[in-house]
Amino acid sequence: MEWIQQLVNGISLGSIYALIALGYTMVYGIIKLLNFAHGEVFMIGAFTGFYAITILNLSFIPALILAMVVCSILGMLIERVAYRRLRSSTRIAALITAIGVSLFIQYVMIYFRGATPEAYPEVVSKQKIEIFGVTFSSQALFILLITIILMIFLQFIVHRTKIGKAMRAVSLDMDAARLMGINVDNTISATFAIGSALAGAAGVIFGMYYTSIDPLMGLLPGIKAFVAAVLGGIGIIPGAMIGGFILGIVETAVSAIGFSNWRDAAAFIILILILIFKPSGIFGKNTREKV
């Protein structure tokens, strides 16, 4: 039974990675930007939720919504101020700005409230569900559910709605999209808004599940989400989810067999192995440039 317990552990951890990776991969899918600041938006989401609950006395759902709104505004603001000017520059220039923005948000936060962690209040009562001697926490199930719902929701937006079509068009050819009458700036803003709202939601859910939040909390999950997104094939929404799960399960498995020290190393080794055999991720199409 222990391995089932570990599998459950792995999937819950994976859901968190997946949740962050979804927003990451979506933004990447549309404008091919490695948005390193995504982890920081996630952090701001966690803190917004925290203050909403502790200071504004909101309950969980309103706090979640508030965090999503704040983050989507923040996301659009970041895009407007830091990335828009660089749209026609090299992608690596935007990457550096993203690193700059990420540091900036971290340290502004530290400046205002210090680096010490904050403990999330228990807003959603926790239940343990026991099936066949395996303990599930109700929260783990809840997170899994939210991740899957959001994944489906994103797929729906991108593939079934008009704004989604505009997003895909922009991702393929910005000028041609303009000639279709698509407002490229607004479309990209919308992409950031949605991606960042997801990060915000992930932040609140993370806080609820793991309790501890701090200004540097975005760095590690941000990189892990990046890994998850790449594992699945970056830019591909279901890929991000599967990548997250794989990462969570691999990390858990490595700890479970007693190599907890090597957990993160294992995650990266898996990543590199998968990339060697499948250079564009699990779901990525191995498109060779046509000459």
Partner: protein
Amino acid sequence: MLKVENINVYYDAIHALKDVSLEVKEGEIVTLIGANGAGKSTLLKTLSGLIRPKNGTIEYEGKSIVKRKVQAIVKAGISHVPEGRRVFPTMSVTENLELGAFLRRDKKAIQKDIEHVFELFPRLYERRKQSAGTLSGGEQQMLAIGRGLMAKPKLLLLDEPSMGLAPLLVKQIFNIIEMINKEGTTILLVEQNANMALSIAHRAYVIETGSVVLSGDAKELQTSALVKEAYLGGA
């Protein structure tokens, strides 16, 4: 219908269009010929709002469109089929056509227009579910034109639609252009294939290193010595 007066366009230090003026009247096919790099594509991009001129005026149906955004210009009825086709490669043929009608809300009419495009290009109908990137060059060109038509333009800007196409397809494309024009769409056509272009156009402009050097009736230009010498490959 469209009146351009003295526009100047720069790419940083490069002066790409110098005091260019031209006019397109309703119902015409006007063609723009000129050597590589003369500024033909630049002119079309300026008309559709992708590039802003430094000065000069562009009037469309009596109103200035110089400061308008691309989407507003598309909405006003100018549709630009860009150089190099620029179809959305991972989207299906149908999705590409739907994107052409992005600003329209009349779903039924859109459906009808898609069917109309399929009538013009039966080949596209055969491939309607295929992703555009895997189409052959000629098919992509048809798709690009069809997509341009989906905006229900009054004025269609075509940039080198015959480039890289097999001779058979070149003929087809020119036939279709004439057909579209007969159905009531005004056309501004940029072409390297000057001979073909001049034979279907009403009027023509010759552009050289950013300036209009010659203009007039298409048939007359076709026989003019200068044009023959420079663009029709000698005598």
